[in-house]
Symmetry: C2
Subunit: 458 residues, 2 copies
């Protein structure tokens, strides 16, 4: 993919040098807007406006939507007012909002000045909804029908008004702006009788979301119910917009990426990797690294506290990394599983007892097998193979007992912290691997030294 993009960009550069504008245009119209945008991003910035002007009007707008905000800003600054107007007229409201959200104030002002009055009003409305809410990602361009229309009248209305709608395939039946039901174009086309009334064929069990429903929930609902679009209603039950499946797919990908980034101990980034500078990456990564480094002071203090025990039996030190890693891995297995299930809506706080039961049983199984395997490994490898007489059966027993209990506690911490976080209104992913690892590290050391000092009488 990356290679192809690069060689296309090279091709355009040489065509531009030779001023073969007709050929460029001929190639551009065969390409998808997403691919044109990707290639434009590879070009010199000074060539952008020229290439962009070679695109037919509609494709130009679609390509514009797919470009990076920096390049959009660059292009807008180069546009005359009438060029800007032309692009804006081709945009759907939700795409226009996405662009406005990324632009500096002076560019926003110019956009709003050049948008037609309806679009301007709608952009301003959508901008008022909280970030990541259904209201903020919806579009106001849907087909609405009246209950008394006939099938034939409905089809006529779609033919007349459909060209500017984001989807025509699901039509919403409203009366005084209140949502009464929905009808699909499939229903209309397959209806045996053109004279039937919409109210007699519409589906009245409509799934809706509120303007303030979280976008992730909206996306999961579209996916679960296999819907093309989901209507958004305000507090009074009045229909205000729709969220379409393509936006839902973007939300699913973005939210999964965000969860993965947070679980990996980073603050989420909106930029793609290749467009992030090392400084961007640094800013997203350093806070967690610093926090976790400082919190490791606890583990350091615990070790210092048991310095004498360690000095008496230096061999104990050799098992600290294994114990901490196994604890960390066990904990993150549980937390990652629970966080994903929470995000997919498979679990909620009410399931906490069931979850703890499952995790503790699983931990007991995993811990027992690990303890037995570890005992065997220590006696065989560390004692016999490495010929280390300090590794006594008593030492092995301490390590394995600590391991068993660490695994159980790690899984307990790993499953409860994310559920508590969710209950308290925090993002469960923030509680994931690195944070839990630190907690579990401290616990595992305390358990280890507890048994070591007791059993080995240090």
């Amino acid at each position: 993919m990356a290679e192809l993009k690069h060689s296309l960009a090279e091709m355009f550069k040489s065509l531009l040098n030779d001023k073969k504008y007709t050929s460029i245009r001929d190639v551009l119209v065969t390409m998808e807007p997403q691919d044109v945008a990707a290639v434009l991003e590879e070009m010199e910035e000074s060539k952008l406006p020229l290439l962009f002007r070679l695109l037919p009007k509609e494709e130009a707008a679609e390509t514009f939507v797919e470009m990076d905000p920096e390049l959009q800003e660059l292009l807008i600054k180069g546009f005359s007012d009438s060029e800007l107007k032309e692009v804006l007229d081709e945009l759907y409201v939700d795409d226009a909002v996405d662009i406005v959200e990324e632009m500096p104030a002076n560019v926003v002002k110019r956009i709003l000045k050049n948008a037609d009055p309806t679009m301007r009003r709608e952009i301003n409305e959508i901008l008022q909804y909280p970030e990541n809410s259904a209201g903020s990602i919806m579009t106001t361009e849907y087909v609405s029908l009246r209950p008394e229309m006939t099938v034939e009248e409905a089809i006529l209305r779609i033919r007349r008004t459909g060209v500017d709608k984001e989807t025509i395939y699901t039509c919403y039946v409203t009366k005084d702006r209140l949502l009464q039901g929905l009808v699909t174009v499939k229903d209309l086309l397959l209806s045996p009788d053109d004279e039937m009334k919409i109210k007699d064929i519409m589906n009245t069990n409509v799934i809706t979301v509120n303007t303030y429903t979280d976008q992730e929930e909206v996306a999961h609902m579209l996916s679960k119910y296999n819907l093309l679009a989901l209507p958004v209603v305000d507090k009074g039950g009045r229909m205000v917009g729709i969220v379409t499946f393509d936006d839902a797919m973007d939300v699913l990908e973005d939210e999964a990426t965000e969860d993965i980034e947070i679980m990996g101990g980073m603050t989420p980034s909106e930029k793609t990797y290749l467009r992030s500078t090392p400084l961007d990456l640094f800013k997203h990564r350093i806070p967690w690294l610093l926090l976790l480094m400082v919190s490791a002071t606890f583990t350091g203090l615990i070790i210092t506290h048991f310095e004498n025990a360690l000095a008496a039996q230096v061999v104990l030190t050799a098992f600290i990394p294994m114990l901490m890693d196994t604890g960390g891995n066990s904990g993150s297995q549980s937390s990652v599983t629970i966080i994903r299930a929470l995000s997919l809506g498979e679990l909620d706080f009410g399931d906490i007892v069931k979850v703890i039961g499952k995790e503790v049983s699983t931990a007991a199984l995993c811990g027992s097998i690990l303890a037995v395997a570890c005992f065997g490994k220590i006696m065989l490898v560390d004692r016999m193979l490495m010929n280390n007489p300090d590794v006594t059966p008593a030492v092995a027993f301490v390590v394995c007992l600590a391991l068993l209990i660490t695994v159980v506690l790690a899984k307990l911490v790993g499953c409860t912290l994310p559920m508590l976080a969710k209950k308290l209104g925090f993002d469960p992913a923030v509680m994931a691997s690195p944070f839990i690892t630190t907690t579990v590290d401290a616990l595992s050391l305390l358990i280890y030294f507890f048994f070591a000092t007791r059993i080995l009488s240090l």
Copy 2:
């Protein structure tokens, strides 16, 4: 959600006890099939067939598709041949294939015997494609048009054949089974002239996938190009099916879950969390825990090797967990970022030089800040606040130098391993956090002891 499901199940139980079948039916028809399936899963198994028979034919089939394989099997075993036939007749081929794939051989035989001949042939065809390929998730039920048809004829054809198609909104224009172009219902409805030929209004720049294209790539393409459906062609360019957006959304969710599970050190599971028994969870988790425990033998051996150095300066032990954790966290930040970018198709192996450059620069920034912060912290907290004279500036210097180099190496390992894995045809996610942590643990200890023995002359 979980609570609601539970109380709905309770309601159905009491209605069943009172034999209020009409009321049950009235409630069921207002519900979405996905929700009916979720409630049925909460019911006693003996009541299932009765409840299922109360559903209207079409909703029964849609509900059936949404149920767990175990319950599907249970229901099929209770069905008479004619009941089974009725459900099968309402299914789309791709859903039928999904069910067949989960059933034991004798049930599959009964399904194929009762499916109508066309469906039987199509099921057998789809079953031959490799798992996770476009061929295995496609459906063969799409609308095909001929280039010479007029718009009016095309609409008539959709009206006549559309009822059994998974989507009617994107129609494919074929000639001798070769794909010529596509036309949407929107194009047809908005066409100014009913007598225009399909070949004159069709879009001939059609994005296609092959039967063997990976399902994740198919899903990303649907999402990237905002498509309702993507046509699947065989090696000869003949059209064999379509993949629709709803299946793509499921693939996106499943693949993200799979990546998250693998990154969390588990083998991926197809069951939802609440339906997994502790034994299921155990089986998916223990292999990695065992592997990582055994591989921690290396870290143990490294520590044992430097036992004398540690005995001479026990304080060095206190910083081992911090060093290993910071290394592990730095490495997994990089690996997680790279793995996600690889999965989203933002990166490929050709970008490896760029990636290494970015990661090493980022690591140098992160490492320097961490080293400085760590030096300050050690001198302030460990030396002054905890009043520990063993923590000399030289010790602090060794720790911080090791920290800086560990962070750089960890990020280098974290970014290169997943890219190499991808290049070699393995799943990059397998290279994630736990595996990289183990490698980085060993490296960080070696670096630490290298500087400790040299600088502190131990």
